[in-house]
Symmetry: C2
Subunit: 167 residues, 2 copies
């Protein structure tokens, strides 16, 4: 009953808002490359969810985050060729957070770093063309204070070719 063509990924993500703008990162790899994405990522084996989110947030933004509360979980499916798999099932746990420091340091530089700086964006300025499904889910939550129960499914997914495609 398993589907070996699907790559399942689980991550934890922070929704941080200041002055009606959402904190995003510039994604540098994966299916959301060259789009805005939420700070966060996959826990390492045995790593607590809150610990993983604080670590990823610091690595990607150079700031510490104060987690406020659970928002919920959502999932996304899209075509994505990764190893032997043809599609991605991305399961995301969302937390409301706030930055607890100004950038004390640039985002960490290391081989697996997948963020290239941060930005604050307005919900009306994001779309599939420039943002990951996680950013769109966060914007939907900001509007309705509820995450959808059903999967966000994309029949097609364009991986953007250029880092400046969303500028």
């Amino acid at each position: 009953m398993t589907d070996p063509s699907v790559h399942t990924a689980f991550g934890v993500y922070a929704v941080c808002v200041e002055n009606d703008k959402l904190l995003v990162i510039h994604k540098s790899r994966g299916p959301y490359v060259h789009r805005y994405d939420l700070p966060g990522g996959n826990p390492e084996a045995g790593e607590s969810l809150a610990t993983a989110l604080r670590r990823e947030f610091l690595e990607e933004t150079g700031m510490t985050v104060r987690l406020r509360r659970n928002i919920g979980t959502a999932d996304v499916k899209l075509p994505w060729h990764f190893g032997q798999t043809a599609s991605l099932h991305h399961i995301a746990a969302f937390y409301e957070g706030e930055r607890a420091s100004v950038p004390a340091q640039a985002p960490a530089v290391f081989e697996e770093q997948d963020a290239l700086g941060t930005a604050w964006v307005s919900a009306e300025h994001v779309s599939t063309a420039n943002a990951s499904p996680l950013v769109l889910l966060a914007c939907a939550w900001l509007k309705k204070r509820e995450l959808p129960l059903e999967t966000f499914t994309y029949e097609t997914w364009e991986v953007l070719p250029r880092p400046d495609a969303y500028l």
Copy 2:
């Protein structure tokens, strides 16, 4: 940076309340065997979260569930010997739900079935002695309408020896 001694499990679970009582199942396997547990379980590869929860709920309770909204995610760590691993990191996404049917059928009978019937329990009647961490988290949410951000960690965990230990 991975820890091969940890078994990570992800599941989706329903919190259903009627007359101030929480719907639970009698767990028949795993670390929570012979305790109350929440209906729900692990999505199969590629299976949507909501689909997985509706399937598990029907299999375990014989009832259909109407999902109402996301509650959030919590994680639990406890000692548990499973294969080569020595501890369990259980990541659980919680949904508020309500049963959408009376039991039209007995819980499904098949080899991997891990529930032996259902019960409705009051929060004051559950404890680590008779309930899984998921049930305790659900009761905490019912009281505060918030799930904890930090991991529920058990330094020791007693697997109950008899099916009637909680009766």
